[in-house]
Amino acid sequence: MAMPSSLLWAVDIFGRVYTLSTVGQYWELCKDTQLEFKRVSAVKQCCWGIACDHKVYTYVFSGDVPIRYQEETYENQRWNPVAGFCEKLLPSDRWQWSDVSGLKHQQLDSFTLPSPHWEWESDWYVDENIGGEPTEKGGWTYAIDFPSTYTKDKKWNSCVRRRRWIRYRRYKSRDVWAKIVSHDNADKLPDPFNDISIGGWEITSEPPGRLSVWAVSLQGRVWYRENVCHHNPEGSTWSLITTPAEVVQISCGPYDLLWATLWEGQAIVREGIDRNNPQGIFWSIVDSPSSENGIMHVSVGVDVVWCVTKDRKVWFRRGVNSHNPRGTSWIEMVGEMMMVTVGLNNQVWGIGCDDRAIYFRQGVTPSELSGKTWKAIVSGRESDRSQTGSSISLLSASCFFTDDIQNQTHAIIQGDADNCSDTELPSVPVNLANTPPMGAAASSGGNGTGNQAAEIQANLTVDPLDSDQGEATVASTSDEKADVEMRKSTNPNPSAELQWTNIDLKEAQKHPVLSVSTFAETSSLSSFGMFSAGAEEQYGADEHPLWAWVSGGGCLVDLHSPLKWFTVLSGLSSSVQSLSLSITPAQTAAWRKQIFQQLSERTKRELENFRHYEQAIEQSVWVKTGTLQWWRNWKPHKWIDVRVALEQFTGSDGMRDSILFIYYMYHEEKKYIHVFLNEVTIIVEVLNEAKHSFALYTPEKTKQRWPIRLAAATEQEMHDWLSLLNMSCCESRRIQGAPSHHAIWSVTCKGDIFVSEPSPDLEAGAHLMPCDQMFWRQVGGHLRLIECNNRGIVWGIGYDHTAWVYTGGYGGGFIQGLASSADNIYMQSDVKCVYIYENQRWNPVTGYSSRGLPTDRYMWSDASGLQECTKINTKPPSPQWSWVSDWYIDFNTSGGTDREGWQYAADFPASYHGHKTMKDFVRRRRWARKCRIVTNGPWLEVPPVTLWDISIIPSSGSDADDREAVALWAISDKGDVLCRLGVTQQNPAGTSWLHVGTDQPFISVSIGAFYQVWAIARDGSAFYRGSVSPKKPAGDCWYHIPSPQKQKLKQVSVGRTSVFVLDKNGNLWYRQGITPSYPQGSTWDHVSNNIRKMSVGPLDQVWVIADKVQGSHSLSCGTVCHRTGVQPMMPKGLSWDYGIGGGWEHITVRGNATEASRVSMHDTSEENPAVSKDLEDEESKGKTEQ
């Protein structure tokens, strides 16, 4: 398992494609080395390139999740009295086989694979799931007539029926360069390609993985590839985009920025690119920064543009943004480059003009987009030693000799390079192919051959990009033309050179190995046609790679990335530095275990019987004081300044305890409140834009739903207090170190992670420990969801759907120093969106406008409309967050939107819909802005699949081997069901994903103690997975389980034997009638309403996040509740006990398999009578005891 990493792609002057990982130190050769490339353009999930045959190829990374596409067609039948339902339809009817609308004839055999890169997954089969409900056998739905609404029940008047057939095809050409096959009309076929750039994935999220792929042909025309997305990685057709003049090169940013360079030396900027128009509308022209030297190369990011002019100078464009994609002016930067590339996060790389090294622009930050300095990447190639003198590199080298300048006309005439056969070509190329490899020639040192070779090398290293310049200048200034002519004159036989290009590629595959003896014989030929043209500098032996092209479009570097690219490492260390979570040998080493064990034995031996002895050193009382603000608990509630003091003292048993005093003024009278920290159950940061505030709860405060709220002047001050108070609480409860395997984990709406050690009495029947007494402590990191089992395997999912695995550490975040473990704490980041709403009202004069009625909400507001939220005044959720995007319109709002993102309604507040009707007088649209948090905690990323849900099997036996595989199921954020292989206690991250096929996207999954896997599909239906076992980790097939009373389900949790589901209306259901022989059960029993989330544990205990819980002072939304009275004979339990609350999002109790010991019922307090009325009671919805 690797650290989160991304790749920088580059092509060396021999056309070999390499990648450099952000966590690596060496360039790695692309897995597929069949082809040589001229240019590549990468994004995270794939790379597109132009090979030396001028064809376009795409390289899609392999992954555990297949790329599959569902084909569907409908079989239609009509009833007649003679034959019953049959395929004889009326003449006016639709075809017997059609699409869903009935308008298109679609027979099963009319479906063909779109390209050789696809394969069928299985044969056609009937879909039996209609709207989340299983149909009767055969999958038929019935209607009175076509087209109509179909029901799954056959009625007396059902005259027609239809059923859906589905078949999946799968994209198979992954981790290889797949040639883009063109289905276009032959005479419309684009000519050979010269440049390519991909990006635009930020423009819209539908369909998933949509990409803008732009290409430039040798004739200078611009083409746009239609319909490139996750399910269609090759796209469908090329569309010609007209340009004002001939284009040489193009660059497409992640968002709406697209620039291209013209032969004449200007740049053109595409305007009007947006969600509805990913191709943009028109071009506008930007002049070159210098009048003498035109622009040769341009590269764009999210909101930056860099260019290189023909004199190799590098320029940065000022003032570029979505509204003004042209920017305002050029600034000259230091350095001379062949080209530059802008990657993710606006980071920049370039290829040095003199040394052909790749440089990274250091210091590019949101506030300083142009960065500070160029720094050379000195990483060597993994293959350096082994590949010196490889014949492949030589052969491909020759294809760069000639390239674009002279042979373009020829290439166009030839049309398709595949057509040129060996026979057309003279024998020269073969000989040329046998020219000595650079490494060999250069190493021959002082003799004439060596020198020659060195010069050749010098020449060819400049050539590929020089040729661009040459092309670009053909039609421009006269002095440059002279230059081109000079070049031409030095190349005596241009057409022959073209042929080399073609044949070399073929030959390279045919004769991969050349004998050394041929080198000497043919070495003189190597200078043929090449040895000349003004390359003054001499290049020595190939010590560092010489690069021709670089693409950073898939490479994510930020402030926090420690890059290892800038130092050469001696020694023979491996190329990829992967950080593995499987515990390092040092940690499992016997010596370490023995030290731990002996120390605890020593403590026992020397201390256990002598605890009553006096301590030699007296512990004095220790006090920390300070000034904070306190949310006063009388009306009107407001923040008032208070003095606070934390007094720590050592008890007679040597343990420390602490009291927090808060001194305040009440009607000019000095008063104070105090809290014993051993009574505090949680200290939690409160999300507050304006204040650095936190809340302290005790069991009593939890019942009141009214914590002590304190605020500090600065974030640092708050974290100092939080850290100290947390440590004091843990000390007084004698809790230290990492959470146990039984720990209960939870996550708040702020993304903070809390963990609680379950008391054995937590699940005891007779003397139940009230859950408001549970002590929660924070663990660093930021997550949306967390799941664990009782073996200490814990996984989490971030707001950006990144999967994380727990490393076994503790602390992190603000918990620093000794309260945090030294190892196992890593950087973690997360991204989420902040939303604001733009509201408008219709008036007869101006139509919709931002002039509302006096009674209306703010024209820019939050979702409720109560708070004014403008683009300017809206801040990230807390100072820990920083913006990482600009405001953009969000089209994924529930209810749908029109093309501009508006949703309409009759009036505020109302339900909104995505199209305007006569009755609509108001409209709103949602704007989103991404922000990012960087923190740290005991978490390591599990790349690359992003997840939506996870479930880990609770283990039944307690004496299991820590190498035994642990079943872990997950749902990807695209809805794929996945099964993780190789998860063990030693390697909790596992090794790879196994994809489990489904007919639709899924949203929830849970695996019970005996491998019962239940899952919920996006349409709200439940499924049971049959035959899952350790030997068959993915099981065999899905059984569709009807949902309770037509409710749409959203979550499932399976404990030891109990199965509970939650529907979208907050109802909790129990599955009745489950037996070992009939694991699907029979019916759903309603248990409770008012539930947001639930977790069923290995003791079949039921814990939930309740929607609303009323306390004596206030109400809390998102509250941890525990089902009481759950017993083997009464799995549904009796009532709810209320725990910590106010902003809780998720809980998992799947680690807690500790049953209470029946004998010793010691020192827990008397039973708390607070446990109360049931949430189930419809009348008192969201209301509880006082």
């Binding site: 301590q615 004095s620 190892d823």
Partner: protein, 275 residues
């Protein structure tokens, strides 16, 4: 316990239950009750025995009281050795509590240093830390610290404040990542059976080939007698903080985690009890 931090904590909070009795020849006004105390392993006898001194002084005639010193089974206990070391060296494998005899007369000048005030202990402690840092970092870290940081180390030890001490000591335990360890390991090896006070030599944590040196490497190098011959029986115990780390434990790790507050790894070599 799974984290290395816990080792620091366990080392710091190590306690030896001790029974102090007054030497029989000391003249008292009434009978002296024994005094029981939990002594911190990482501290110094004269730093933590104020209560003991007070307790016995109560029963003695004022004129009989001179400088206090301690003895165990005839061996005067050097106050400038950490308590844990004294115990491991002289009294491990004996029944607890550790029985120490208290003397007020006949100070053994040739065996013990005088300790008239806590300042003497502080000076000794700081001298050790400085020497250790000279070995580890050519004194760079300790010299960059401020006076108050030095004070905090001492106060941390004196008041048994783990966090206070480690907040500063952490810096003394760091090293440049490219070095993989300290320059030299500050260690002292004590042998119960020899007259020589201790062995101290220059020893690097990393071998020239890059592999980590282990406790075994150290002993082979500086005290080969502590290691059993190839086929022979292990006749000695190698003790640090009352435990016997395995000989393959990396010495760098030991230095970082099991040094005493004076930053030295004090290793006791004692005869293995025969039973």
């Amino acid at each position: 316990m799974t984290d290395d931090k816990d080792v620091l904590r366990d080392v710091w909070f190590g306690r030896i239950p001790t029974c102090f009795t007054l030497y029989q020849d000391e003249i008292t006004e009434r009978e002296a009750e024994p005094y029981y105390l939990l002594l911190p392993r990482i501290s110094y006898l004269t730093l933590v025995t104020d209560k003991v001194k007070k307790h016995f002084q109560k029963v003695m005639r004022q004129e009989e009281v001179s400088e206090i010193w301690f003895e165990y089974e005839g061996t005067p206990l050097k106050w400038h050795y950490p308590i844990g070391l004294l115990f491991d060296l002289h009294a491990s494998n004996t029944a607890l509590p550790w029985s120490i005899t208290v003397h007020f007369k006949n100070f053994p000048e040739k065996d013990l240093l005088h300790c008239h005030s806590k300042d003497v202990i502080e000076a000794h402690f700081m001298a050790c830390i400085k020497e250790a840092d000279a070995l580890k970092h050519k004194s760079q870290v300790i010299n960059e610290m401020q006076k108050k940081d030095h004070k905090q180390l001492w106060m941390g030890l004196q008041n048994d404040k783990f966090e206070q001490f480690w907040a500063i000591n952490r810096k003394l335990m760091e090293y440049p990542p490219e070095d993989n360890g300290f320059r030299y390991i500050p260690f002292r090896i004590y042998q119960a059976t020899t007259e020589r006070p201790f062995i101290q030599k220059l020893f690097r944590p990393i071998a020239s080939g890059g592999q980590l040196h282990t406790l075994e490497d150290l002993l082979k190098d500086v005290c080969p007698s502590a290691i059993a011959p190839e086929d022979g029986e292990q006749k000695t115990q190698v003790m640090i903080h009352g435990i016997e780390p395995m000989l393959e434990t990396p010495i760098q790790w030991l230095s970082e985690h099991m040094s005493y507050p004076d930053n030295f790894l004090h290793i006791s070599i004692i005869p293995r009890p025969t039973d």
